[in-house]
């Protein structure tokens, strides 16, 4: 790995941390969301440098979408979306800071104490192929399970989030031909 790459990676790392800190410093949820997105994108950059382009791309795309959803969500539901009114919504600030720092300190101490068995850096084979083979082979069952998890999440999230179900829309016997929705639109229309 070239020195440049290393420096860039570290710089991105530092950026990720700084942006991460900013998440809890800025006084607007929108800004916080975008800081978080920035942090994730920096990490995606690190991935890219460290020969994982596919995962970097997935991360970047997914986080962008997710943060977009989050932003929309905030703007729709939450108070103080645009940071118009500076406010503090924290409790136990110093305790939390101490806890966060303690975690950091413990981990860092460990990291710098351990004698890492670094592998000889050589030409990497196709990293994406490696991932794909693992997913389809050794870790196939894991991915199947992830599929079930996602199915479950859709179901559970929907149930939890929505106030109205099929019987509200189509009647107790599901006999209604057109759904009875307070707002027009959506499925079954």
């Amino acid at each position: 790995m070239t020195v440049t790459a290393a420096v860039v990676a570290l710089a991105l790392g530092a950026g990720a941390v700084v942006l991460g800190v900013l998440v809890f410093v800025v006084d607007s949820m929108a800004r916080a969301t975008f800081s978080l997105l920035g942090s994730f994108l920096s990490v995606a950059g690190i991935m890219l440098i460290l020969d994982l382009p596919y995962l970097a791309l997935v991360t970047a795309l997914m986080m962008t979408m997710e943060m977009a959803v989050m932003a929309v969500f905030m703007i729709m539901f939450m108070m103080n979306p645009a940071g118009l009114m500076p406010m503090s919504m924290v409790h136990n600030k110093y305790g939390s800071a101490a806890a966060g720092f303690a975690v950091f300190a413990v981990l860092t101490t460990g990291i710098w104490l351990v004698d890492w068995p670094v592998a000889p850096s050589g030409a990497r084979s196709d990293t994406t192929a490696q991932l794909g083979l693992a997913l389809m082979g050794e870790y196939m069952l894991v991915m199947i399970l992830v599929g079930v998890v996602l199915f479950t999440t859709i179901l559970a999230g929907t149930i939890l989030a929505t106030g109205r179900g099929r019987y509200d829309r189509f009647g107790p016997d599901l006999g209604r031909r057109r759904p009875d929705d307070p707002v027009r639109g959506g499925l079954g229309r």
């Binding site: 991935m47 994982l52 919504m89 950091f104 999230g157």
Partner: protein
């Protein structure tokens, strides 16, 4: 710069992200902000996993799978978090964790 130091520095970055995330999760009152803290911890995991893979076991796919799983975790927890927030907002018109303290003792 040797690989070892680079690895350690990157891991320190990961640790810092975890630390910041912990701070956020503990200190924020808004549910969504707590979730952001948790996301940051996952972010740290991502950095750790990718460094591990690159410097330690480039021949093993496990760290890569871990990254995939981390993303899944992040997505799933976002979904459930938003759903929970919506639910509690519907039931109690609050979005702050401190406001939900009926259950205690």
């Amino acid at each position: 710069m040797s690989d070892v130091v680079l690895l350690q520095l990157l891991l320190t970055v990961a640790a810092a992200l975890v630390g910041v995330g912990v701070y956020g999760a503990l200190s924020q009152q808004s549910i969504v902000m707590v979730m952001m803290g948790i996301e940051l911890i996952v972010n740290g995991v991502l950095v750790g996993a990718v460094s591990a893979w690159y410097f330690l076991t480039p021949e093993a796919p496990d760290p890569q799978i871990l990254i995939v799983l981390a993303l899944v975790v992040m997505a799933v927890e976002m979904v459930m978090g938003f759903a929970a927030t919506l639910a509690i907002y519907r039931a109690r018109k609050v979005d702050m964790v401190d406001s939900a303290t009926d259950l205690k003792g």
